[in-house]
């Protein structure tokens, strides 16, 4: 059965220490329900990383969305995307006719600095933070492929520029290359402005079978994979093989090639992440992804605009909500709703989310979704 996104909703993203998690979730869900139009929700799939147990039930209680299957999922930063993936397959296989996917996170109530590494994990116990993990990918790229500091910083400059017209983004002030490079060093060579912020927020989508509504966006494919071992046999930096193999399957299921994608939202938790991911998605050859942002290819107006919402670096990264926030942006793009950041004639869109953090494997999970709207 073909699957469509009927409606999407999000909160604004940023630090909302005084707003309860359930209120954030309600705002996103209500917006998605109104966007989708009338119809009973038959199941809900809810992604969060640091939310309380029963996060979905807590989030949906005051909306009366109870008495249905509510499934809570965790897959690190890909938790919201995993919830969407499960929602997609529940429609695709005919189990339900209309379901809700929800992602939510309230990081300011859990952390006042960087996310603490998991101490039951070998690398976490040694103090390896996620910025440092990504920094080592950047260092490897600089040594092996000639990636430059300015190419890294160009990713932030582009995504900040994109976010400047996104009223729900956490950071809307454009920055220069010099500002990015002169911001405090977090993990060499990544500076503060090359790292995603601590964010709160929620995002939701309503999915269902075909109903011939012109605003519905078709899901051409949705693929979830977890990483293989990442060890001394791995020739590529952390996560690259996982994104690549997930993308190959997503393209095959959707019947498209990378060249056909008009707009993308990808996992730029750190600048190097966008560069490595775009290579893995086939938008650049290995080692050449650094040229994309620098040359304008991935900017609005370029041939392959990437992260028009501002990405994780500028829109914000409320972990469990991120995948559905990305999805909401692409659905808006494929509907032609995104005003000054609209990609003209966007017909095919892609969402990629990467979750990581377990030592020795090439990523906890990667989810890639390919969507199609009517040509504008």
């Amino acid at each position: 059965m073909n699957v469509y996104v009927y409606g999407v909703g999000t909160t604004s993203f940023g630090k909302h220490p005084d707003v309860p998690l359930a209120k954030l979730a309600e705002d996103a869900v209500l917006e998605a329900l109104l966007d989708a139009g009338p119809g009973a929700i038959e199941a809900a799939y809810v992604g969060t990383v640091f939310g309380p147990f029963g996060s979905g039930q807590r989030a949906l209680r005051r909306l009366g969305l109870l008495g249905i299957p509510i499934v809570n999922v965790e897959n690190a930063c890909a938790s919201g995307s995993t919830a969407f993936h499960e929602a997609f397959w529940s429609i695709r296989t005919g189990r339900f006719k209309r379901v809700l996917a929800l992602g939510l996170e309230h990081l300011t109530s859990r952390f006042d600095g960087p996310i603490a590494p998991e101490a039951t994990d070998a690398e976490g116990r040694s103090g390896l933070s996620l910025p440092a993990l990504y920094a080592m990918s950047a260092a490897r790229y600089m040594a092996c492929h000639g990636l430059t500091d300015r190419q890294l910083a160009a990713v932030t400059v582009k995504n900040r520029q994109h976010a400047s017209t996104n009223e729900r983004a956490q950071f809307r002030t454009p920055v220069t290359l010099e500002q990015v490079l002169s911001s405090p060093m977090i993990a060499d060579p990544l500076t503060l402005l090359q790292c995603c912020p601590l964010s709160d927020g929620a995002a939701a989508a309503v999915l269902g079978a075909r109903r011939d509504n012109p605003r519905d966006v078709a899901v051409l494919s949705c693929v979830l994979r977890s990483g293989h071992l990442w060890d001394y046999r791995s020739k590529h930096v952390w996560g690259q093989d996982l994104v690549s193999t997930t993308a190959a399957q997503a393209y095959k299921h959707a019947g498209i090639t990378p060249d056909e994608i008009d707009v993308l939202e990808v996992h730029d938790a750190f600048t190097i992440g966008e560069i490595v991911t775009l290579e893995a998605l086939g938008l650049a050859a290995l080692g050449e992804g650094g040229r994309l942002a620098e040359s304008g290819v991935t900017a609005l107006g370029g041939t392959h605009p990437v992260n028009p919402s501002g990405g994780l670096i500028s829109r914000g990264h409320p972990l469990g909500a991120t995948g559905l926030a990305q999805l909401a942006e692409i659905v808006g793009q494929l509907r032609g709703d995104q005003s000054t950041r609209q990609v003209q004639n966007a017909r095919i869109g892609l969402v990629e989310t990467m979750g990581g953090g377990v030592s020795g494997i090439d990523g906890n999970a990667c989810v890639i979704t390919v969507l199609s709207g009517a040509a504008q």
Partner: protein, 122 residues
């Protein structure tokens, strides 16, 4: 209840000026790892205990300049591919700069917090 009942970090031993690191090697496919796994993570066969020599090559390195889990920055970190197989994350002694990709390194023991500790040797 303890927060962290077992130390998951690689087991580095230092005695008589000799440093080694304990792990396992697969008798079937030869896969080497530093976990005390029951079965080979690559092929599922049985494993034998192994002891790896301390020298290797830097895969990548960084200087972590933020405090996490009470660890005081800066921390010099590197992935090192040991000559006899496993890749491990180690802290690195010496000046506060990211260890260079491709440089040779040698495990010298553990930090006072119990992390594998290496030095760059050329």
């Amino acid at each position: 209840m303890t927060d962290h009942p077992a130390d998951p970090r690689p087991r580095v031993t230092a005695s008589n000026h000799s440093v080694a690191i304990a792990g396992t090697r697969c008798g079937s496919c030869g896969y080497c790892c530093l976990d005390d796994s029951v079965l080979c993570m690559a092929c599922g066969s049985t494993l034998s205990p192994a002891c790896f020599s301390p020298e290797g090559t830097i895969w990548a390195g960084t200087v972590q300049r933020i405090e996490v889990n009470g660890r005081i920055p800066p921390m010099i970190l590197a992935y090192i591919d040991l000559d006899e197989g496993p890749r491990l994350l180690a802290h690195v002694t010496g000046k506060v700069t990211a260890p260079q990709v491709g440089a040779r390194a040698r495990l010298v023991g553990t930090t006072k917090e119990g992390d594998p500790l290496a030095e760059v040797i050329c």
